[in-house]
């Protein structure tokens, strides 16, 4: 199907009733719900970030008091990590994996639906903390014991935080089960594992990490709850417990979590760059093997978040952390190899993909720096670290999310977003993002700690913080422009056909949006880009 007309009402998800959406087990509905809900939390967490940046724009401001500020940054981090970046990836995976492998749905469609609704209620639970005595959790997204113990975090907000995250953990574990099973068992004829799209491979590696890491989070949350309400002493010093145990358990989850937050987006970039370079992906095998190298190594670096505790094997964790830079670098060079001698098209998805690479490079380099304990002894818990993780998560994952939205929105909703507005959104986000977070490297070096609701008027601090806050405002304008783009697109007539970009993978074979059970026909699958092969048989060579 190559004509771009309005899709028939039966296959247009926007026309279905609310009951259909509440009870659907179709992976496309579940994926769409995941992605839309997570973008909602992005907007909420972004608004919280604006409060932070307003409060910190100048020294000693009093827009919010210390306790409110602590709630704000806790909810900001919690929402961005648990309710936006991860669920968006899982939603994208839900939507794309069956399409990319040529399957009609996920292996366990009803389990799939359960996972979305657990996420939905989990997010509500975390935020319902604002309604209880003492307010929402205010101990950071890491909620270290003993700060999160019952003696100090006395209110129900912390318990609601625990409850909400238990729900999202279980949700993630079941999603990972679904992803792996579906990919192993439901591939279409000819779709061997070594012809899977890179995005699907990255989702398998992500699913493996989820299966290994999320149980540790569930355990530490349960143990925290037991300490708080059932007389436990896991994390209380002086009663046989140890606060460090919390950190081991938390970071054993927490570090793979950050790779769970980036690997799907490596997959997104690996899908977009080849299409807009008009070449196959370079180094397919390397991309796949490096995904699993990262997944495996990520399980062995958790205590690089604990270098300053003085009680962990710093050199072991430093060494393995350096090793992880190697497969990440391989991916970078594979993407460069894909663009090399290509024919580059600067469509909006490609702009965001390039922005991703530039930003993530900076974040990766600052990451290698803090992987060295002597550097980390100064940088830990300072704004240098805030700069590092925002570069990889904001400059990295967030940019890839925008790239994914601009790339796959036509497939999901049947209409093209505006290329003109998209370029403005990219420009505002790129400039705003770098203005906000680059200066934070300097602030950290100058001695500004993180998680502070205010700071003294030391020389240069006010200016750099003001630049950061102005950058955040620029980003906010970009996000608002994006929202405007989305809303006006729904009313536009820019219908997308099945394949508006010249895509490679199977989702571009079927209509936009796809019908129930996805495909009425499939092309022969003889490489990792079956749609391209079918449309350009003269260029289809299994070995290149």
């Amino acid at each position: 199907m190559t004509t771009a007309t309005a899709p028939s009402p039966r296959s247009d998800p926007a026309r279905r009733g609310i009951v259909e959406w509440l009870t659907s087990t179709d992976h496309k509905h579940v994926g769409t719900l995941y992605m839309c809900t997570s973008v909602f939390y992005f907007l909420v967490a972004g608004a919280l970030a604006m409060v932070i940046r307003a409060q910190l724009s100048q020294p000693e401001m009093t827009l919010v008091g210390p306790h409110q500020y602590n709630e704000v940054f806790t909810l900001h981090g919690t929402a961005m990590i648990f309710l936006f970046v991860v669920p968006f990836a899982l939603g994208l995976g839900n939507y794309l994996i069956p399409l990319q492998i040529g399957a009609p749905d996920m292996a366990f469609p009803r389990l799939n639906a359960v996972t979305y609704w657990l996420f939905f209620f989990g997010g509500l639970t975390v935020f319902s903390g604002v309604l209880v005595n003492g307010g929402a959790a205010a101990t950071g997204w890491t909620a270290f014991a003993p700060l999160s113990g019952i003696k100090i975090a006395t209110g129900g907000g912390q318990d609601l935080w625990i409850a909400g995250l238990l729900m999202t953990s279980v949700s993630g574990i079941f999603t990972a089960v679904n992803f792996i099973t579906t990919t192993f068992l439901y591939r279409a004829p000819g779709m061997t594992m070594w012809r899977l799209p890179i995005f699907t491979w990255e989702m398998i590696a992500t699913s493996l990490m989820i299966l290994m890491a999320f149980p540790s989070l569930a355990a530490v949350l349960a143990m925290l709850y037991i300490d708080r309400h059932l007389g436990g002493q896991f994390f209380q010093a002086g009663a046989g417990g140890n606060p460090i145990l919390y950190q081991h358990l938390f970071w054993f989850f927490g570090h793979p979590e950050v790779y769970i937050m980036i690997l799907p987006y490596f997959g997104v970039i690996s899908e977009i760059i080849p299409v807009f370079s008009r070449k196959p992906v370079f180094g397919y095998t390397g991309l796949v093997l490096s995904a699993f190298a990262i997944a495996g190594l990520s399980m062995g670096v958790w205590a690089h978040h604990m270098f300053t505790t003085g009680v962990v094997a710093n050199l072991f964790f430093s060494g393995v952390s350096f090793l992880i830079a190697v497969p990440t670098g391989i991916k970078f060079f594979n993407w460069i190899g894909t663009m090399w001698k290509g024919s580059i098209v600067f469509a909006t998805p490609m702009l965001f993909a390039i922005g991703f690479m530039l930003n993530f490079l900076i974040g990766g380099i600052s990451g290698v720096m803090v992987a060295s304990p002597p550097i980390d002894f100064n940088a830990e818990d300072s704004y240098f670290l805030v700069a590092h993780f925002h570069y990889v998560l904001g400059g990295g994952s967030l940019f890839a999310i925008f790239a994914a939205i601009y790339f796959w929105f036509p497939k999901v909703f049947g209409k093209m977003l505006s290329e003109r507005l998209g370029k403005w959104v990219f420009g505002l986000l790129f400039v705003g993002f770098n203005a906000t977070f680059f200066v934070m490297h300097f602030l950290g070096d100058m001695g500004m700690p993180r998680r502070v609701y205010t700071y003294a008027p030391l020389p240069g601090w006010g200016t750099l913080n003001l630049i950061a806050s102005v950058g955040a405002a620029i980003m906010a304008i970009g996000v608002l422009l994006f929202a405007y783009d989305v809303v006006t697109t729904f009313f536009s007539r820019r219908y997308a056909g099945a394949d508006p970009w010249g895509g490679y993978t199977l989702e571009w074979w079927t209509s936009s949006p796809p019908p129930e059970f996805n495909f009425t026909s499939l092309p022969p699958i003889r490489s990792e880009r079956p749609v391209f092969d079918a449309k350009h048989p003269e260029l289809a060579r299994p070995k290149g």
Partner: protein, 125 residues
């Protein structure tokens, strides 16, 4: 399912290796225990892939398969709409709300979860 088997076997081997290296570098029981459990879980999955999936002949694994080869294959039953998944999730929500702020709710939530599971099971028959 050679690739899947290889995936879990190599992951399990890596898990064992890193747990051993970690123990001898750190003598830290917490981390070794976590890595050891991870290795055990991966070994379990690898073992399963070896034993149970040995006979699997998936059409997706044949690189030269055509759509005609797969004609008439029964993939399975895929549901389209059912209210029990959201019910079960809602029940879990009530249980955890109960544990967080109002214990009596936890029992109500458990009842909802069990009811949802029961109806889900009946639906499958």
């Amino acid at each position: 399912m050679k690739v899947g088997r290889r995936l879990f076997v190599s992951s399990a081997s890596f898990g064992v290796a890193i747990a051993v290296v970690y123990w001898f570098s750190s003598r830290n029981l917490d981390g070794t225990f976590l890595l050891g459990l991870m290795a055990a879980a991966l070994t379990f999955a690898a073992g399963y892939m070896y034993v149970a999936e040995r006979e699997a002949r998936l059409i997706g694994d044949r690189g030269d398969a055509t759509n005609a080869d797969a004609a008439g294959e029964r993939l399975g039953t895929f549901t389209t709409g059912t209210p029990w998944p959201p019910t079960i999730a809602f029940g879990a929500f009530v249980v955890l709300l109960g544990l967080a702020i109002f214990p009596a709710l936890a029992y109500a939530g458990l009842a909802i979860v069990l009811f949802g599971l029961y109806r889900l099971g009946r639906e499958s028959r």
